[in-house]
Amino acid sequence: MKRVSTGDKIFYIVNNIILFLMIAVCVYPLLYVIFASFSKPDKLMQFSGALLYPLGFDTGAYKEVLSNSMVWTSYLNTIIYVVFGTLTALIMTILSAYILSRRGIKIKKLLNVLLISSMFFSGGMIPTYITIKSYHMLNTIWAIILPPAISAMNVIVMRTSFAALPPSLEEAAAIDGISEYQFLVKMILPLSKSVLAVIALYYGVALWNSWFSAAIYLDKRSMYPLQLYLREVLINSSTDSMTTGVAEGDKVAVSETIKYATIIVSTVPILCVYPFLQKYFVKGVMVGSVKG
Protein backbone atom coordinates (compact mmCIF):
# COMPACT_ATOMS: atom_id res chain seq x y z
CA MET A 1 0.00 0.00 0.00
CA LYS A 2 1.30 3.43 -0.89
CA ARG A 3 1.77 5.90 1.92
CA VAL A 4 -0.52 8.89 1.59
CA SER A 5 0.59 12.16 3.14
CA THR A 6 -1.76 14.17 5.35
CA GLY A 7 -2.05 16.92 2.76
CA ASP A 8 -3.12 14.44 0.11
CA LYS A 9 -5.57 12.82 2.53
CA ILE A 10 -7.26 16.16 3.08
CA PHE A 11 -7.28 16.68 -0.66
CA TYR A 12 -9.04 13.38 -1.24
CA ILE A 13 -11.63 14.03 1.44
CA VAL A 14 -12.40 17.53 0.20
CA ASN A 15 -12.53 16.26 -3.36
CA ASN A 16 -15.02 13.54 -2.47
CA ILE A 17 -17.21 16.01 -0.61
CA ILE A 18 -17.21 18.47 -3.50
CA LEU A 19 -18.15 15.71 -5.91
CA PHE A 20 -20.88 14.48 -3.62
CA LEU A 21 -22.37 17.96 -3.60
CA MET A 22 -22.04 17.94 -7.37
CA ILE A 23 -24.10 14.74 -7.56
CA ALA A 24 -26.74 16.26 -5.31
CA VAL A 25 -26.93 19.42 -7.41
CA CYS A 26 -27.29 17.43 -10.62
CA VAL A 27 -29.89 14.98 -9.41
CA TYR A 28 -31.92 16.90 -6.85
CA PRO A 29 -33.87 19.19 -9.21
CA LEU A 30 -35.15 16.09 -10.98
CA LEU A 31 -36.03 14.39 -7.73
CA TYR A 32 -37.87 17.53 -6.66
CA VAL A 33 -39.95 17.41 -9.82
CA ILE A 34 -40.77 13.73 -9.25
CA PHE A 35 -41.73 14.33 -5.61
CA ALA A 36 -43.79 17.39 -6.46
CA SER A 37 -45.65 15.57 -9.24
CA PHE A 38 -46.89 12.92 -6.78
CA SER A 39 -47.72 15.38 -4.01
CA LYS A 40 -51.22 16.40 -2.99
CA PRO A 41 -51.84 19.75 -4.77
CA ASP A 42 -53.07 21.67 -1.73
CA LYS A 43 -50.21 20.47 0.47
CA LEU A 44 -47.68 21.40 -2.20
CA MET A 45 -49.13 24.90 -2.40
CA GLN A 46 -48.61 25.51 1.31
CA PHE A 47 -45.20 23.89 1.44
CA SER A 48 -42.07 25.95 1.20
CA GLY A 49 -38.54 24.63 0.95
CA ALA A 50 -36.80 21.55 -0.33
CA LEU A 51 -38.98 18.49 -0.82
CA LEU A 52 -37.35 15.29 0.38
CA TYR A 53 -40.34 13.03 -0.29
CA PRO A 54 -43.79 13.44 -1.88
CA LEU A 55 -46.31 15.29 0.28
CA GLY A 56 -49.03 12.71 0.50
CA PHE A 57 -49.59 10.58 -2.54
CA ASP A 58 -51.80 11.70 -5.36
CA THR A 59 -51.76 10.50 -8.95
CA GLY A 60 -54.51 12.92 -9.95
CA ALA A 61 -52.10 15.08 -11.93
CA TYR A 62 -50.94 12.10 -13.96
CA LYS A 63 -54.53 11.14 -14.66
CA GLU A 64 -55.22 14.62 -15.99
CA VAL A 65 -52.08 14.60 -18.14
CA LEU A 66 -52.62 11.12 -19.54
CA SER A 67 -56.29 11.74 -20.32
CA ASN A 68 -55.40 14.79 -22.37
CA SER A 69 -55.69 14.04 -26.06
CA MET A 70 -53.14 16.69 -27.09
CA VAL A 71 -50.49 14.94 -25.00
CA TRP A 72 -51.08 11.73 -26.93
CA THR A 73 -51.25 13.44 -30.32
CA SER A 74 -48.01 15.31 -29.75
CA TYR A 75 -46.35 12.22 -28.30
CA LEU A 76 -47.29 10.25 -31.39
CA ASN A 77 -46.06 13.07 -33.65
CA THR A 78 -42.74 13.15 -31.84
CA ILE A 79 -42.35 9.40 -32.20
CA ILE A 80 -43.06 9.66 -35.93
CA TYR A 81 -40.56 12.51 -36.34
CA VAL A 82 -37.93 10.69 -34.30
CA VAL A 83 -38.30 7.35 -36.10
CA PHE A 84 -38.37 8.68 -39.66
CA GLY A 85 -35.95 11.47 -38.95
CA THR A 86 -33.41 9.13 -37.41
CA LEU A 87 -33.75 6.64 -40.27
CA THR A 88 -33.26 9.34 -42.90
CA ALA A 89 -30.35 10.86 -41.03
CA LEU A 90 -28.73 7.49 -40.47
CA ILE A 91 -28.88 6.56 -44.16
CA MET A 92 -27.56 9.94 -45.28
CA THR A 93 -24.79 9.84 -42.70
CA ILE A 94 -23.76 6.30 -43.62
CA LEU A 95 -23.56 7.24 -47.29
CA SER A 96 -21.50 10.38 -46.60
CA ALA A 97 -19.20 8.59 -44.18
CA TYR A 98 -18.71 5.69 -46.57
CA ILE A 99 -17.74 7.97 -49.44
CA LEU A 100 -15.39 9.92 -47.21
CA SER A 101 -13.75 6.79 -45.84
CA ARG A 102 -12.75 5.47 -49.30
CA ARG A 103 -9.37 6.37 -50.68
CA GLY A 104 -8.68 8.07 -53.98
CA ILE A 105 -12.17 9.18 -54.92
CA LYS A 106 -12.49 12.48 -56.71
CA ILE A 107 -15.89 13.38 -55.29
CA LYS A 108 -14.51 13.03 -51.78
CA LYS A 109 -12.84 16.41 -52.08
CA LEU A 110 -16.06 18.23 -52.87
CA LEU A 111 -17.86 16.45 -50.07
CA ASN A 112 -15.11 17.28 -47.60
CA VAL A 113 -15.29 20.96 -48.49
CA LEU A 114 -19.06 20.97 -48.01
CA LEU A 115 -18.81 19.09 -44.74
CA ILE A 116 -16.12 21.23 -43.14
CA SER A 117 -17.58 24.52 -44.29
CA SER A 118 -20.99 23.57 -42.96
CA MET A 119 -19.38 23.34 -39.53
CA PHE A 120 -18.32 26.96 -39.60
CA PHE A 121 -20.70 28.80 -41.86
CA SER A 122 -24.27 28.41 -42.95
CA GLY A 123 -27.05 30.44 -44.47
CA GLY A 124 -28.60 31.13 -41.12
CA MET A 125 -32.09 31.16 -39.74
CA ILE A 126 -33.87 33.43 -42.19
CA PRO A 127 -32.46 32.21 -45.53
CA THR A 128 -33.05 28.64 -44.37
CA TYR A 129 -36.63 29.47 -43.49
CA ILE A 130 -37.19 31.10 -46.87
CA THR A 131 -35.63 28.13 -48.63
CA ILE A 132 -37.87 25.66 -46.82
CA LYS A 133 -40.84 27.86 -47.55
CA SER A 134 -39.96 28.01 -51.24
CA TYR A 135 -39.94 24.20 -51.34
CA HIS A 136 -43.52 24.28 -50.00
CA MET A 137 -42.42 22.24 -47.04
CA LEU A 138 -44.14 24.34 -44.39
CA ASN A 139 -46.57 22.27 -42.36
CA THR A 140 -45.12 19.01 -43.63
CA ILE A 141 -43.04 16.39 -41.89
CA TRP A 142 -40.19 17.07 -44.36
CA ALA A 143 -39.41 20.42 -42.80
CA ILE A 144 -38.72 18.63 -39.54
CA ILE A 145 -36.80 15.58 -40.68
CA LEU A 146 -34.84 16.67 -43.78
CA PRO A 147 -32.83 19.76 -42.75
CA PRO A 148 -31.07 18.02 -39.83
CA ALA A 149 -30.37 14.85 -41.85
CA ILE A 150 -26.61 15.37 -42.03
CA SER A 151 -24.70 16.64 -39.05
CA ALA A 152 -21.06 17.22 -39.90
CA MET A 153 -19.88 16.13 -36.47
CA ASN A 154 -21.71 12.80 -36.73
CA VAL A 155 -20.38 12.16 -40.22
CA ILE A 156 -16.86 12.74 -38.95
CA VAL A 157 -17.38 10.32 -36.06
CA MET A 158 -18.69 7.65 -38.41
CA ARG A 159 -16.03 8.22 -41.06
CA THR A 160 -13.31 7.92 -38.42
CA SER A 161 -14.79 4.63 -37.31
CA PHE A 162 -15.16 3.28 -40.87
CA ALA A 163 -11.61 4.29 -41.73
CA ALA A 164 -10.31 2.54 -38.63
CA LEU A 165 -11.41 -0.87 -39.94
CA PRO A 166 -8.41 -2.94 -41.07
CA PRO A 167 -7.39 -2.31 -44.70
CA SER A 168 -7.02 -6.06 -45.20
CA LEU A 169 -10.81 -6.17 -45.18
CA GLU A 170 -10.92 -4.14 -48.37
CA GLU A 171 -8.24 -6.28 -49.99
CA ALA A 172 -10.15 -9.42 -49.13
CA ALA A 173 -13.30 -7.89 -50.57
CA ALA A 174 -11.45 -6.97 -53.75
CA ILE A 175 -10.13 -10.52 -54.13
CA ASP A 176 -13.58 -11.98 -53.58
CA GLY A 177 -14.83 -9.56 -56.16
CA ILE A 178 -17.82 -8.32 -54.21
CA SER A 179 -19.35 -5.04 -55.22
CA GLU A 180 -18.92 -1.83 -53.27
CA TYR A 181 -22.53 -1.95 -52.21
CA GLN A 182 -22.10 -5.43 -50.77
CA PHE A 183 -18.86 -4.34 -49.13
CA LEU A 184 -20.73 -1.59 -47.31
CA VAL A 185 -23.79 -3.61 -46.37
CA LYS A 186 -22.23 -6.98 -45.62
CA MET A 187 -18.87 -6.01 -44.16
CA ILE A 188 -18.60 -2.41 -42.95
CA LEU A 189 -22.03 -2.01 -41.40
CA PRO A 190 -22.07 -5.26 -39.39
CA LEU A 191 -18.64 -4.40 -38.05
CA SER A 192 -19.71 -0.88 -37.08
CA LYS A 193 -22.82 -1.71 -35.09
CA SER A 194 -21.79 0.23 -32.03
CA VAL A 195 -20.98 3.44 -33.90
CA LEU A 196 -24.26 3.12 -35.80
CA ALA A 197 -26.06 2.84 -32.48
CA VAL A 198 -24.27 5.90 -31.15
CA ILE A 199 -25.06 8.03 -34.16
CA ALA A 200 -28.67 6.87 -34.27
CA LEU A 201 -28.98 7.82 -30.61
CA TYR A 202 -27.50 11.25 -31.24
CA TYR A 203 -29.92 11.97 -34.03
CA GLY A 204 -32.80 10.45 -32.11
CA VAL A 205 -32.21 12.51 -29.00
CA ALA A 206 -31.71 15.68 -31.04
CA LEU A 207 -35.00 15.10 -32.84
CA TRP A 208 -36.78 14.23 -29.62
CA ASN A 209 -35.59 17.48 -28.04
CA SER A 210 -36.03 19.76 -31.02
CA TRP A 211 -38.81 22.30 -30.90
CA PHE A 212 -37.56 25.37 -32.69
CA SER A 213 -37.88 24.04 -36.22
CA ALA A 214 -41.36 22.80 -35.38
CA ALA A 215 -42.20 26.21 -33.95
CA ILE A 216 -41.24 28.03 -37.12
CA TYR A 217 -42.24 25.48 -39.76
CA LEU A 218 -45.47 24.08 -38.33
CA ASP A 219 -48.54 26.00 -37.33
CA LYS A 220 -51.09 23.21 -37.34
CA ARG A 221 -51.59 22.16 -33.77
CA SER A 222 -52.33 18.61 -34.85
CA MET A 223 -48.75 18.35 -36.09
CA TYR A 224 -47.06 19.69 -32.96
CA PRO A 225 -44.33 17.54 -31.50
CA LEU A 226 -44.31 16.94 -27.77
CA GLN A 227 -41.76 19.63 -27.00
CA LEU A 228 -43.84 22.31 -28.65
CA TYR A 229 -46.91 21.25 -26.73
CA LEU A 230 -44.80 21.34 -23.57
CA ARG A 231 -44.09 24.95 -24.31
CA GLU A 232 -47.78 25.70 -24.26
CA VAL A 233 -48.31 23.93 -20.97
CA LEU A 234 -45.08 24.69 -19.16
CA ILE A 235 -43.69 27.97 -20.42
CA ASN A 236 -46.87 29.76 -21.42
CA SER A 237 -48.62 28.18 -18.43
CA SER A 238 -51.84 27.27 -20.12
CA THR A 239 -52.95 24.19 -18.25
CA ASP A 240 -56.59 25.12 -18.82
CA SER A 241 -57.14 22.31 -21.30
CA MET A 242 -56.17 19.79 -18.63
CA THR A 243 -58.05 21.18 -15.65
CA THR A 244 -61.53 21.13 -17.12
CA GLY A 245 -62.78 18.60 -14.58
CA VAL A 246 -61.28 20.44 -11.62
CA ALA A 247 -63.22 22.70 -9.29
CA GLU A 248 -62.49 26.41 -9.85
CA GLY A 249 -60.87 26.91 -6.45
CA ASP A 250 -58.40 24.07 -6.85
CA LYS A 251 -57.26 25.03 -10.33
CA VAL A 252 -54.13 26.95 -9.33
CA ALA A 253 -52.91 24.20 -7.04
CA VAL A 254 -53.71 21.41 -9.45
CA SER A 255 -52.07 23.16 -12.38
CA GLU A 256 -48.80 23.20 -10.42
CA THR A 257 -48.75 19.42 -10.00
CA ILE A 258 -49.92 19.00 -13.57
CA LYS A 259 -46.87 20.90 -14.75
CA TYR A 260 -44.57 18.65 -12.78
CA ALA A 261 -46.36 15.54 -13.99
CA THR A 262 -46.08 16.75 -17.59
CA ILE A 263 -42.34 17.18 -17.18
CA ILE A 264 -42.03 13.62 -15.89
CA VAL A 265 -44.27 12.12 -18.57
CA SER A 266 -42.26 13.79 -21.30
CA THR A 267 -38.87 12.93 -19.84
CA VAL A 268 -39.47 9.37 -18.68
CA PRO A 269 -38.60 7.65 -21.99
CA ILE A 270 -35.19 9.32 -22.09
CA LEU A 271 -34.53 8.72 -18.40
CA CYS A 272 -35.49 5.06 -18.78
CA VAL A 273 -33.14 4.30 -21.63
CA TYR A 274 -30.36 6.57 -20.42
CA PRO A 275 -28.69 4.26 -17.89
CA PHE A 276 -28.43 1.48 -20.47
CA LEU A 277 -27.19 3.66 -23.29
CA GLN A 278 -24.87 5.93 -21.35
CA LYS A 279 -21.74 4.04 -22.34
CA TYR A 280 -22.62 4.31 -26.04
CA PHE A 281 -23.15 8.05 -25.76
CA VAL A 282 -19.82 8.45 -24.07
CA LYS A 283 -18.15 6.28 -26.67
CA GLY A 284 -19.43 8.59 -29.38
CA VAL A 285 -17.84 11.59 -27.74
CA MET A 286 -14.57 9.69 -27.45
CA VAL A 287 -14.50 8.62 -31.09
CA GLY A 288 -15.33 12.15 -32.14
CA SER A 289 -12.60 13.65 -30.02
CA VAL A 290 -9.86 11.43 -31.36
CA LYS A 291 -9.96 13.01 -34.77
CA GLY A 292 -12.48 15.78 -34.38
Partner: protein, 317 residues
Protein backbone atom coordinates in the same frame (compact mmCIF):
# COMPACT_ATOMS: atom_id res chain seq x y z
CA UNK B 1 -4.71 5.94 -58.68
CA UNK B 2 -3.50 9.47 -58.05
CA UNK B 3 -6.22 12.03 -58.34
CA UNK B 4 -5.23 15.40 -57.05
CA UNK B 5 -6.75 18.61 -58.33
CA UNK B 6 -3.72 20.55 -57.18
CA UNK B 7 -1.31 18.72 -59.45
CA UNK B 8 -2.70 20.84 -62.29
CA UNK B 9 -3.42 18.05 -64.71
CA UNK B 10 -5.25 19.34 -67.76
CA UNK B 11 -8.97 19.65 -67.31
CA UNK B 12 -9.77 17.19 -70.06
CA UNK B 13 -7.58 14.54 -68.52
CA UNK B 14 -9.16 15.14 -65.14
CA UNK B 15 -12.58 14.78 -66.67
CA UNK B 16 -11.66 11.52 -68.38
CA UNK B 17 -10.31 10.28 -65.07
CA UNK B 18 -13.61 11.17 -63.45
CA UNK B 19 -15.61 9.22 -66.02
CA UNK B 20 -13.36 6.22 -65.58
CA UNK B 21 -13.77 6.51 -61.85
CA UNK B 22 -17.55 6.69 -62.07
CA UNK B 23 -17.46 3.50 -64.12
CA UNK B 24 -15.23 1.76 -61.60
CA UNK B 25 -16.99 3.03 -58.51
CA UNK B 26 -20.60 3.11 -59.61
CA UNK B 27 -22.01 2.62 -56.13
CA UNK B 28 -19.96 5.44 -54.61
CA UNK B 29 -21.27 7.86 -57.19
CA UNK B 30 -24.83 6.65 -56.80
CA UNK B 31 -24.45 7.08 -53.05
CA UNK B 32 -23.13 10.58 -53.64
CA UNK B 33 -26.31 11.66 -55.42
CA UNK B 34 -28.60 11.97 -52.37
CA UNK B 35 -25.78 13.45 -50.32
CA UNK B 36 -25.01 16.11 -52.88
CA UNK B 37 -28.71 16.77 -53.30
CA UNK B 38 -28.99 17.29 -49.58
CA UNK B 39 -26.15 19.80 -49.57
CA UNK B 40 -27.48 21.58 -52.62
CA UNK B 41 -31.00 21.87 -51.22
CA UNK B 42 -30.37 22.52 -47.54
CA UNK B 43 -26.91 24.03 -47.41
CA UNK B 44 -26.00 25.77 -50.66
CA UNK B 45 -29.47 27.09 -51.40
CA UNK B 46 -29.78 28.91 -48.04
CA UNK B 47 -26.30 30.39 -48.58
CA UNK B 48 -27.46 31.58 -51.99
CA UNK B 49 -30.52 32.89 -50.15
CA UNK B 50 -28.18 35.10 -48.16
CA UNK B 51 -28.28 37.37 -51.20
CA UNK B 52 -31.49 38.76 -49.76
CA UNK B 53 -29.37 40.49 -47.15
CA UNK B 54 -28.32 42.82 -49.96
CA UNK B 55 -31.80 43.16 -51.43
CA UNK B 56 -35.30 44.20 -50.56
CA UNK B 57 -36.71 40.73 -50.59
CA UNK B 58 -40.31 39.92 -51.22
CA UNK B 59 -41.51 36.36 -51.41
CA UNK B 60 -43.47 36.97 -54.60
CA UNK B 61 -40.47 38.28 -56.55
CA UNK B 62 -38.07 35.65 -55.23
CA UNK B 63 -34.38 35.99 -54.41
CA UNK B 64 -33.29 36.94 -57.94
CA UNK B 65 -36.19 39.20 -58.80
CA UNK B 66 -36.08 41.35 -55.70
CA UNK B 67 -34.39 44.75 -56.19
CA UNK B 68 -30.97 45.53 -54.71
CA UNK B 69 -31.14 47.74 -51.69
CA UNK B 70 -29.52 51.18 -51.33
CA UNK B 71 -25.88 51.85 -50.36
CA UNK B 72 -24.69 49.46 -53.09
CA UNK B 73 -26.61 46.63 -51.48
CA UNK B 74 -25.30 47.28 -48.00
CA UNK B 75 -28.31 49.28 -46.91
CA UNK B 76 -29.47 46.74 -44.36
CA UNK B 77 -26.02 46.48 -42.84
CA UNK B 78 -25.83 50.27 -42.58
CA UNK B 79 -29.23 50.52 -40.96
CA UNK B 80 -28.35 47.71 -38.57
CA UNK B 81 -25.23 49.57 -37.46
CA UNK B 82 -27.35 52.63 -36.78
CA UNK B 83 -30.19 50.67 -35.22
CA UNK B 84 -30.90 51.93 -31.68
CA UNK B 85 -30.69 48.32 -30.51
CA UNK B 86 -27.43 47.52 -32.33
CA UNK B 87 -25.24 48.34 -29.39
CA UNK B 88 -27.51 46.62 -26.89
CA UNK B 89 -27.74 43.28 -28.65
CA UNK B 90 -24.05 43.27 -29.49
CA UNK B 91 -23.11 43.92 -25.87
CA UNK B 92 -25.60 41.32 -24.63
CA UNK B 93 -24.33 38.71 -27.04
CA UNK B 94 -20.71 39.34 -26.09
CA UNK B 95 -21.55 39.48 -22.39
CA UNK B 96 -23.45 36.20 -22.36
CA UNK B 97 -20.88 34.30 -24.39
CA UNK B 98 -17.91 35.78 -22.52
CA UNK B 99 -19.52 34.88 -19.20
CA UNK B 100 -20.01 31.40 -20.64
CA UNK B 101 -16.36 31.28 -21.62
CA UNK B 102 -15.25 32.42 -18.17
CA UNK B 103 -17.48 30.18 -16.06
CA UNK B 104 -18.86 27.43 -18.25
CA UNK B 105 -15.68 26.51 -20.10
CA UNK B 106 -13.38 25.97 -17.10
CA UNK B 107 -16.07 24.23 -15.06
CA UNK B 108 -15.90 21.12 -17.24
CA UNK B 109 -12.11 21.03 -16.94
CA UNK B 110 -12.28 21.39 -13.17
CA UNK B 111 -14.90 18.65 -12.91
CA UNK B 112 -12.77 16.34 -15.04
CA UNK B 113 -9.72 17.02 -12.85
CA UNK B 114 -11.69 16.29 -9.69
CA UNK B 115 -13.31 13.15 -11.06
CA UNK B 116 -9.91 11.96 -12.24
CA UNK B 117 -8.63 12.06 -8.65
CA UNK B 118 -11.38 9.82 -7.29
CA UNK B 119 -9.86 6.50 -6.36
CA UNK B 120 -12.94 4.35 -6.04
CA UNK B 121 -14.00 3.21 -9.50
CA UNK B 122 -17.56 2.69 -8.33
CA UNK B 123 -17.91 6.19 -6.94
CA UNK B 124 -16.42 7.52 -10.15
CA UNK B 125 -19.09 5.74 -12.17
CA UNK B 126 -21.86 7.09 -9.98
CA UNK B 127 -20.52 10.63 -10.33
CA UNK B 128 -20.30 10.32 -14.07
CA UNK B 129 -23.78 8.87 -14.46
CA UNK B 130 -25.29 11.62 -12.32
CA UNK B 131 -23.44 14.52 -13.90
CA UNK B 132 -24.18 13.38 -17.47
CA UNK B 133 -27.86 13.05 -16.68
CA UNK B 134 -28.91 16.72 -17.09
CA UNK B 135 -27.51 16.68 -20.63
CA UNK B 136 -30.40 14.46 -21.68
CA UNK B 137 -33.11 16.75 -20.44
CA UNK B 138 -34.56 18.76 -23.27
CA UNK B 139 -34.13 22.51 -23.38
CA UNK B 140 -37.87 22.84 -23.08
CA UNK B 141 -38.01 20.84 -19.86
CA UNK B 142 -34.94 22.60 -18.51
CA UNK B 143 -36.50 25.98 -19.15
CA UNK B 144 -39.81 24.99 -17.63
CA UNK B 145 -37.97 23.76 -14.55
CA UNK B 146 -36.25 27.15 -14.38
CA UNK B 147 -39.61 28.86 -14.78
CA UNK B 148 -41.16 26.98 -11.89
CA UNK B 149 -38.08 27.07 -9.63
CA UNK B 150 -37.46 30.80 -9.84
CA UNK B 151 -41.14 31.77 -9.71
CA UNK B 152 -42.18 33.67 -6.61
CA UNK B 153 -43.22 30.51 -4.79
CA UNK B 154 -40.61 28.28 -6.41
CA UNK B 155 -37.78 26.26 -4.92
CA UNK B 156 -35.05 28.86 -5.46
CA UNK B 157 -37.14 31.57 -3.86
CA UNK B 158 -37.92 29.27 -0.95
CA UNK B 159 -34.20 28.92 -0.35
CA UNK B 160 -33.61 32.64 -0.73
CA UNK B 161 -36.44 33.38 1.70
CA UNK B 162 -34.95 30.89 4.14
CA UNK B 163 -31.80 33.00 4.29
CA UNK B 164 -33.86 36.08 4.94
CA UNK B 165 -33.88 37.67 1.51
CA UNK B 166 -36.91 38.89 -0.33
CA UNK B 167 -38.87 36.72 -2.74
CA UNK B 168 -39.26 37.90 -6.31
CA UNK B 169 -40.11 36.60 -9.72
CA UNK B 170 -36.52 36.30 -10.86
CA UNK B 171 -37.22 35.97 -14.57
CA UNK B 172 -38.51 39.53 -14.83
CA UNK B 173 -35.42 40.98 -13.19
CA UNK B 174 -32.95 41.98 -15.93
CA UNK B 175 -29.91 41.82 -13.63
CA UNK B 176 -30.62 38.14 -12.89
CA UNK B 177 -31.09 36.92 -16.44
CA UNK B 178 -27.44 36.28 -17.19
CA UNK B 179 -26.70 34.42 -13.94
CA UNK B 180 -29.76 32.23 -14.47
CA UNK B 181 -28.75 31.53 -18.05
CA UNK B 182 -25.13 30.71 -17.24
CA UNK B 183 -25.78 28.67 -14.10
CA UNK B 184 -28.46 26.55 -15.74
CA UNK B 185 -26.12 26.08 -18.69
CA UNK B 186 -23.38 24.82 -16.41
CA UNK B 187 -25.83 22.54 -14.64
CA UNK B 188 -26.88 20.99 -17.89
CA UNK B 189 -23.57 20.81 -19.68
CA UNK B 190 -20.73 20.46 -17.23
CA UNK B 191 -20.76 16.68 -16.91
CA UNK B 192 -21.12 16.06 -20.60
CA UNK B 193 -18.38 18.51 -21.57
CA UNK B 194 -16.05 16.88 -19.07
CA UNK B 195 -16.08 13.59 -21.01
CA UNK B 196 -13.64 14.85 -23.57
CA UNK B 197 -11.19 15.99 -20.90
CA UNK B 198 -11.55 12.72 -19.01
CA UNK B 199 -10.64 10.93 -22.22
CA UNK B 200 -7.58 13.13 -22.56
CA UNK B 201 -6.69 12.56 -18.91
CA UNK B 202 -6.73 8.81 -19.30
CA UNK B 203 -4.05 9.20 -21.95
CA UNK B 204 -1.49 10.75 -19.62
CA UNK B 205 1.50 8.52 -18.91
CA UNK B 206 1.32 7.04 -15.38
CA UNK B 207 5.10 7.18 -15.11
CA UNK B 208 4.89 10.96 -14.99
CA UNK B 209 2.85 10.74 -11.80
CA UNK B 210 5.19 8.19 -10.30
CA UNK B 211 8.15 10.43 -11.05
CA UNK B 212 6.36 13.41 -9.53
CA UNK B 213 5.55 11.38 -6.44
CA UNK B 214 9.17 10.34 -5.99
CA UNK B 215 10.11 14.00 -6.24
CA UNK B 216 7.70 14.59 -3.36
CA UNK B 217 5.04 16.53 -5.25
CA UNK B 218 1.70 16.71 -3.46
CA UNK B 219 -1.50 15.75 -5.25
CA UNK B 220 -2.37 19.38 -5.91
CA UNK B 221 1.06 20.11 -7.35
CA UNK B 222 0.73 17.03 -9.53
CA UNK B 223 -2.50 18.40 -10.93
CA UNK B 224 -0.85 21.67 -11.86
CA UNK B 225 2.43 20.29 -13.15
CA UNK B 226 1.50 16.94 -14.70
CA UNK B 227 -2.24 16.72 -15.34
CA UNK B 228 -2.97 20.18 -16.67
CA UNK B 229 -0.03 20.33 -19.09
CA UNK B 230 -1.05 16.84 -20.23
CA UNK B 231 -4.49 17.95 -21.37
CA UNK B 232 -3.47 21.39 -22.58
CA UNK B 233 -3.72 20.49 -26.29
CA UNK B 234 -7.30 19.30 -25.76
CA UNK B 235 -8.13 22.46 -23.82
CA UNK B 236 -6.65 24.59 -26.58
CA UNK B 237 -8.68 22.90 -29.32
CA UNK B 238 -11.87 23.15 -27.28
CA UNK B 239 -11.09 26.79 -26.57
CA UNK B 240 -10.69 27.62 -30.26
CA UNK B 241 -13.91 25.81 -31.12
CA UNK B 242 -15.64 27.71 -28.37
CA UNK B 243 -14.43 31.11 -29.52
CA UNK B 244 -15.70 30.27 -32.98
CA UNK B 245 -19.21 30.38 -31.58
CA UNK B 246 -18.58 33.49 -29.52
CA UNK B 247 -21.36 35.42 -31.21
CA UNK B 248 -23.85 32.60 -31.45
CA UNK B 249 -25.27 31.92 -28.04
CA UNK B 250 -28.00 29.35 -27.56
CA UNK B 251 -30.95 31.35 -28.77
CA UNK B 252 -33.46 28.53 -28.29
CA UNK B 253 -32.92 28.73 -24.57
CA UNK B 254 -33.02 32.52 -24.52
CA UNK B 255 -36.29 32.59 -26.43
CA UNK B 256 -37.80 30.34 -23.79
CA UNK B 257 -36.46 32.36 -20.88
CA UNK B 258 -36.60 36.01 -21.80
CA UNK B 259 -39.50 38.42 -21.90
CA UNK B 260 -39.96 42.07 -22.68
CA UNK B 261 -38.90 43.04 -19.20
CA UNK B 262 -35.50 41.41 -19.55
CA UNK B 263 -34.73 42.39 -23.16
CA UNK B 264 -32.19 44.95 -21.97
CA UNK B 265 -29.87 42.19 -20.77
CA UNK B 266 -31.21 39.12 -22.57
CA UNK B 267 -31.83 40.14 -26.16
CA UNK B 268 -28.97 38.85 -28.32
CA UNK B 269 -28.27 38.99 -32.05
CA UNK B 270 -29.92 35.69 -32.90
CA UNK B 271 -33.08 36.38 -30.89
CA UNK B 272 -33.22 39.77 -32.57
CA UNK B 273 -32.94 38.04 -35.94
CA UNK B 274 -35.72 35.67 -34.91
CA UNK B 275 -38.08 38.46 -33.89
CA UNK B 276 -37.30 40.74 -36.81
CA UNK B 277 -37.30 37.99 -39.41
CA UNK B 278 -39.86 35.45 -38.39
CA UNK B 279 -42.25 37.39 -36.19
CA UNK B 280 -42.14 40.74 -38.03
CA UNK B 281 -41.29 39.30 -41.47
CA UNK B 282 -38.40 41.73 -42.10
CA UNK B 283 -36.61 39.03 -44.04
CA UNK B 284 -33.87 41.04 -45.70
CA UNK B 285 -32.97 43.10 -42.67
CA UNK B 286 -32.75 40.09 -40.35
CA UNK B 287 -30.81 38.06 -42.92
CA UNK B 288 -28.27 40.91 -42.99
CA UNK B 289 -28.08 40.86 -39.19
CA UNK B 290 -27.60 37.09 -39.20
CA UNK B 291 -24.89 37.37 -41.83
CA UNK B 292 -23.11 40.03 -39.82
CA UNK B 293 -23.17 37.59 -36.91
CA UNK B 294 -21.81 34.67 -38.96
CA UNK B 295 -19.01 36.71 -40.51
CA UNK B 296 -17.87 38.08 -37.17
CA UNK B 297 -17.87 34.50 -35.85
CA UNK B 298 -15.61 33.38 -38.67
CA UNK B 299 -13.22 36.26 -38.07
CA UNK B 300 -13.05 35.56 -34.33
CA UNK B 301 -12.44 31.87 -35.02
CA UNK B 302 -9.59 32.64 -37.40
CA UNK B 303 -8.05 35.09 -34.93
CA UNK B 304 -8.30 32.66 -32.02
CA UNK B 305 -6.76 29.95 -34.15
CA UNK B 306 -3.86 32.19 -35.11
CA UNK B 307 -3.32 33.27 -31.53
CA UNK B 308 -3.31 29.71 -30.24
CA UNK B 309 -0.96 28.55 -32.95
CA UNK B 310 1.50 31.25 -32.05
CA UNK B 311 1.27 30.54 -28.33
CA UNK B 312 1.01 26.79 -28.09
CA UNK B 313 1.59 25.08 -31.45
CA UNK B 314 -1.88 23.53 -31.20
CA UNK B 315 -4.40 24.77 -33.70
CA UNK B 316 -7.34 23.72 -35.80
CA UNK B 317 -5.55 24.36 -39.08
Amino acid sequence: MKTNLNTREPLGQWFLGLIKEIKNHKFIYIAAIPVLFYYALFYIKPIYGLLIAFKDYSFVKGVMGSPWTDNFGFGHFVSFMSDPYFFRILVNTLAISCLGLIFDFPSAIILALLVNEVRSEKYKKVIQTCTYLPHFISIMVLCSMIHTFVAKDGLVNDIIAFFGFERSNMLVRPELFRPIFIISGIWQGVGWSSIIYLAALSGIDVQLYEAAEIDGASKIRQIFHVTLPGILPTITIMFIMRTGTLLSVGYEKIILLYNEMTYQTADVISTFVYRQGLLNANYSYSAAVGMFNAVVNLIVLALANKLCRRMSETSLW
